[in-house]
Amino acid sequence: MRRFGLRRLDQYLVVFIVAVSLNFMLPRLMPGNPLALLAGVDVGLMTPDERAEVIRQVGLDAPLVSQFFDYWRAVLTGDLGFSYRSGRPIGEMIGERLPWTLLITGASLVISAFFGIIIGAFSAWRRGKKSDLTLLTGMIGLQSLPSFWLGMLLISVFAVQLGWLPSFGAVTPASDLTGLAHVRDIAEHAVLPIATLTVLSIPGVYLTMRYSMLEVLGDDFIRTARAKGASESRILFGHVARNAIAPVVTFLAIRFAFAFGGSVIIETVFSYPGLGRLVFEAVSRRDYPVMQAAFLVFTVAVLLANLLADLLYPILDPRMREQ
């Protein structure tokens, strides 16, 4: 057990080193550079000397190797640096964006997990029947919806046609709302992004739950449970669902990691000020430090989520404990 734990820790370390190094390389491998961002839109009007000075000021003229070591030093000391675009500390920028992202991705994760697991369990229980096939077809259909299209459809119906909900942003700009009215404003703005994300996430949970259930349903101990006269609901929830939940937890853990990345597309469609949009802006303008910092956050989130899944697995499934 201990030997195994160490090996797994090694594995995480290797992945961390490789991923964090890639985070440095990725922005630099992309065509283009942050010159326009640093020098402003009229960079074409600058003299070559002025341009060189701009590059020198941020240290991009240094050899790549020394930039790489500086980068690692910053990563290890927890220094996320400053944005080329705004000059602001990136930690502060991420701190502003992350709550918005977690609000919509977190809420949709919880809601989609709830419905996905229940519907998935129901569907598997009714396997091969009409209700199962209808659900299965419907879910596969949902899963293939393009997310931007669904987002725009919801905006079109609920914001433009019906006028019930705001179509963009996290709060009403310049509204001076406080207290409960402010909370209500935030909630109203979050409804459509959360709904979009939820609808798109349910099929994944559903399919994982359903297949996992079907696997368990074929196992001997279910037949035993039936034979000893356990009620159907006890078999479903006490035996099958409990045993089928482990892969779903892994799936949700990975989803949770993705939640930190936000959804570039959903946050763009709804002009939502989350982390996904920060990354979108950073990538399109080649704001290297922000790209690196955001990728680092994703890397750490994915690793932690996996670690969490690894730790939860033996708790959920006693058979995993003694391997």
Binding site: R8, Q11, V15, L22, G32, N33, L35, A36, A39, G40, V41, D42, V43, G44, L45, M46, P48, E50, R51, Q57, R85, S86, G87, M93, E96, M152, I155, A159, V160, P166, S167, F168, G169, A170, P173, A174, I254, F258, G261, V264, I265, T268, F270, S271, Y272, P273, R277, V279, F280, E281, S284, M291, F295, F298, T299, V302, L303, N306, D310, Y313
Partner: protein, 567 residues
């Protein structure tokens, strides 16, 4: 099972996240260049509204949508040439201000005079203008601004002031001495540069290293920035003490959208009142049909063109460039892509609404003539595959375009079809904006060469607005022709375009521009396809008094001032 899958899942997850990030397209905002506008009694804006919202005691708030943030909106932080510069100038004033015809009129400088050879400009600064913090605006602020931009490089304003040799103060006058005559100085510099308060900026030694918050946004303009939420919104309050009189709109809230679809949905749902970006042609009728939305539309000076690398075979051959020019049906592009909302491109570069336009240079669409020209120059299809050959290779080229501009993509597809008819194969490659820019204009310095064969390209309004800037596009010396992205060079073009830059006499200047248009149309350094119209959508119940500045659109402080305070 979980264990075995762990590593691949991790790596795949990370790759997916990185991949999702790579899909993005920025707004094409960097294809611009410095400013000002020349001349023109331009045929005015078309259906700019004539009605004013009924006067009422209620404060008027206008919520405007933009696409993409503009940072803290000071002269060193704003991002795009349009609408970033336009929003910047809501807070600041220039010495001169464009009127609705696009002609600079006295503004902070109540009079502007120059000597006969246009090397010295005397500016009399208006009395009674104040900064947002209540301090008076003086000649010293003006001199400080000139010195500051010369000492602390910005792409735009420092460029405007290159050639300034001396700035002296005498009483209420600022006298600017130039190294060489600059007939466009009023347009490129005086109507472009925001005047800064000395008492705020003298403490900022190196603006390039500075992290700005909005506390430095002290201007003299009609609006004061009171709140800024990154990538969300700007809140601009009217300056009641504005030297031209209080603005007609009491509060301007600028909302940052991530894409234009979001802005369109928001104006249709009534959540914003105007969009400070051009709406695409197919949206114009749709939006205009919805009450209370209206459209303000007029000709603008942005351009859509084809660039080719003239230094490479076979584009170094005039016959090939001319054949491409002949094969292109400009009318079809205006009709199909712009649904008529554009002016047909002149092969001589100059917009037909400009007084210096030479009507003798009209684009000709003649596929047969294009084929004859290619045949005559020896470009034959020897293997019968429908594609001609040059130097033993097929005339098969890649045309780069930026994926964020769907109109440009459609233009490229049409061009591909048009050139196929004359035996030239064009494959359209739609890439992300930064990639496209890096290929066409590596590091924004033409000394770095070119990494493309053909590209769909365009310049922002200021390049066209000031006609003498034509030299920047076609002169073979990179010091003068620093926007010459096609690597074009021709001795006669060099001579005339360089002469134009310093010609003080306007009749001679006009005649030089006329000649140059003929020469450019003959030599085809690029193919100018169209000048798209500007079309802006606004809610006429909230505010209807938008002023369309010819060639520049409605996004300016002029639109928000009461009629009596406009230039």
């Amino acid at each position: 099972m979980l264990r075995r899958w762990n590593l691949p899942i991790l790596l795949v997850s990370l790759a997916l996240i990185a991949g999702a990030c790579g899909d993005s397209d920025p707004e094409a905002s960097t294809t611009t260049a410095a400013g000002g506008t020349t001349a023109p009694t331009v045929a005015g804006a078309t259906d700019a509204p004539t009605t004013t919202a009924p006067p009422s005691a209620d404060p008027v708030t206008v919520r405007a949508a933009i696409t993409g943030g503009e940072d803290t909106l000071n002269p060193y932080t704003y991002i795009s040439g349009f609408p970033g510069w336009n929003l910047l100038m809501m807070q600041y004033d220039s010495l001169m201000q464009l009127d609705s015809a696009g002609i600079p009129q006295p503004w902070l400088a109540e009079s502007v005079t120059s000597n006969a050879d246009l090397t010295e400009f005397t500016l009399t600064i208006v009395q009674g203008a104040t900064w947002h913090d209540g301090q008076p605006l003086t000649v010293n602020d003006v001199k400080f601004t000139f010195d500051y931009f010369i000492d602390n490089a910005t792409g735009r304003f420092s460029r405007d002031l290159r050639g300034v040799e001396s700035v002296t103060v005498s009483g209420n006058d600022v006298v600017v001495g130039l190294a060489a005559p600059n007939p466009a100085f009023d347009l490129v510099a005086l109507a472009d540069i925001p005047i800064l308060p000395q008492h705020v900026w003298e403490g900022i030694a190196t603006p390039g290293d500075q992290t700005f918050d909005i506390s430095t946004n002290v201007g003299s303009g009609p609006y004061m920035l009171t709140d800024y939420q990154e990538d969300q919104s700007y809140r601009l309050k009217a300056n009641p003490d504005y030297f031209r009189g209080a603005p007609a709109v009491d509060e301007l809230v600028v909302i940052v959208f991530a894409d234009d679809a979001g802005a369109l949905a928001a104006i249709r749902s009534g959540e914003v009142d105007v969009i400070f970006e051009r709406v695409s042609p197919e949206q114009i009728d749709l939006l205009d049909a919805q009450d209370p939305l209206d459209i303000s539309q007029g000709p603008e000076f942005t351009t859509q063109m084809i660039n080719f690398d003239v230094s490479k075979r076979p584009f170094d051959d005039l016959a090939v460039r001319k054949a491409i020019d002949l094969a292109v049906d400009r009318q079809d592009i205006v009709d199909t892509v712009f649904l008529g909302a554009a002016t047909i491109g002149s092969p001589g570069w100059v917009h037909p609404d400009k007084p210096v336009y030479n009507p003798a240079v009209a684009g000709v669409h003649d596929t047969a003539a294009a084929i004859a020209m290619l045949e005559g120059a020896g470009y034959l299809d020897s293997d019968g595959d429908g594609i001609r050959e040059f130097d033993g290779q097929p005339m098969s080229f890649e045309m780069l375009t930026n994926s964020s501009d769907s109109l440009r993509l459609r233009i490229s597809e049409l061009i591909s079809e048009m050139l196929a008819e004359v035996g030239i194969e064009v494959t359209v490659a739609s890439v992300e904006t930064a990639t496209w820019e890096q290929a066409v204009w590596p590091d924004f310095d033409i000394a770095n060469g070119r990494n493309y064969e053909m590209a769909a390209w365009g310049w922002s309004a200021p390049v066209q607005a000031n006609t003498i800037r034509i030299a920047e596009l076609v002169h073979s010396d990179g010091g003068i022709g620093f926007l010459n992205l096609t690597g074009f060079g021709h001795p006669d073009v060099d001579t005339i375009s360089a002469a134009l830059l310093t010609e003080a006499d306007s009749a001679t200047s006009t005649s030089l521009i006329m000649d140059l248009q003929v020469l450019i149309a003959e030599q085809v350094p690029f193919v100018l396809l169209a000048y798209p119209d500007g079309a802006y959508v606004y809610n006429s119940e909230v505010y209807a008094d938008w002023e369309f500045i010819a060639g520049q659109g409605i996004v300016s402080k002029v639109s928000l001032l009461p009629p009596g305070a406009r230039p």
